[in-house]
Symmetry: C2
Subunit: 254 residues, 2 copies
């Protein structure tokens, strides 16, 4: 097991930001400057082509730290951010660009599924190792309730298979905006923890019915579908339940 | 034009409740015991077979009064609560019961559409007259922002055609749980104000796709679909944006 090594730290606006590595995976941990030990821990995924410090993710992480006093962790997905791409990654990405330029929707879809499956296969055991390493920190420990804080597209493509196999995660935020495939539906059917599912209602490249089918597949007794107009790039969420994770992860009432 | 005549008044838990009649339509007005004039006014519809003081509606009304200081009005729909049924109402209801007992889903659907259309035709001008009478009260006046506070099923079957023609309504909560028909889709396409749409995800008697089609039809730039597991009788909403009307009706920030 790799332990977690902090590589840098800064603080701003009451949020302590520490970069770390676990093995070859770079990550970042945000926590309150004056925090309590064993606060709930939220794992946040980033979207496809993005990275662990993408502005939207940073904003959600800061909000989670400041509003709830939680700890937030993010890592670069395989082949994203500071991480090298494999020859296969480069091959798929080149094919993807070609297919996009040619307007070949079918090939775009099949390549995005192939890439998504490949990334999730690598990312799930990585997240599990990161979680082991985070729990080895005295300030987190084995007692901190753990949630998955989503990110639509790739963050969900990785988060669903992770939550399906990882019993330490007790609530999760997922979202649409990508091509849903059978293995993902199967993973969703094994998820029973509370789920909040965010759907951009007008995603021109993604079939809305398949996203609704994904929401339908979660075995969770408590699940919420939240949809607003827009696609996964332009979406402006409104009326969102910002307290979903706080309600399910707080050991005392939120 | 009929004016509004108060027939009784009581107060409990800081909420002032006044029964009224406008012509032959009985209604009820809830407001803060110590309220301000021209506070936002929320019109609340009740579900099919229910009435203006159904417990769920009362609970929503009290919550709206207490949390936001708003005024809430509800009336009995035609043939509901204290109001007589027409011969045609009785005829359709008898047929509906027969069809339910016989498990004739198609006839249940067609009768529920026929009844819904007939009720909405009568209820829309009634609500408009009630609104005129309410605005004639000095404490409400022409300045109070007005919202439609929903109710799934019949409350939405009446609320959608009302909001489509009534420019005084500036935000609305609707919901699924009933058979959607073409005239309702057409009315939804004329609605441009912010809409919150509540969908029971597992309604065994109602086609989910038709409810999603109804959400899709609203022309509103700002609209939110919120779905939870359950049917329209058993639904327990979770993670709902309770501040939707407050955000859109408050003259000062909510």
């Amino acid at each position: 097991m790799h332990s977690l090594r902090f590589t840098s730290e800064t603080a701003s606006n009451g949020v302590f930001e520490r970069d770390f590595v676990v093995g070859e995976v770079p990550g970042v941990l945000w926590s309150p400057v004056s925090g309590r030990d064993h606060a709930p821990l939220v794992l946040m995924g980033h979207g496809g082509g993005l990275h662990k410090k993408t502005p939207a993710l940073m904003a959600r992480a800061h909000e989670t730290v400041i509003s709830h006093g939680f700890t937030v962790a993010a890592i670069d997905a395989p082949g994203h951010g500071d991480r090298p791409r494999t020859a296969e990654d480069e091959h798929i990405r080149a094919g993807f660009k070609e297919a996009m330029a040619a307007g070949d929707t079918e090939r775009v879809g099949s390549l995005s599924v192939r890439y998504g499956v490949s990334l999730a296969e690598r990312a799930v055991p990585e997240w599990q190792a990161i979680l082991d390493a985070l729990q080895a920190l005295p300030e987190i420990g084995a007692d901190a309730p753990i949630g998955y804080g989503g990110g639509i597209t790739l963050g969900t493509g990785i988060g669903i298979p992770l939550t399906a196999v990882e019993s330490r995660i007790s609530a999760a935020i997922f979202g649409g905006g990508f091509v849903v495939y059978d293995a993902l539906l199967e993973a969703a059917r094994r998820i029973t923890v509370p789920v909040q599912f965010l759907l951009p209602w007008d995603d021109e490249h993604v079939d809305r019915q398949s996203a609704l089918g994904l929401f339908d597949a979660f075995a969770s007794k408590e699940k919420t579908l939240h949809a607003n107009p827009g696609d996964h790039r332009t979406i402006r969420w409104s009326g969102l339940d910002e307290h979903f994770l706080a309600r399910h992860l707080s050991t005392s009432p939120a």
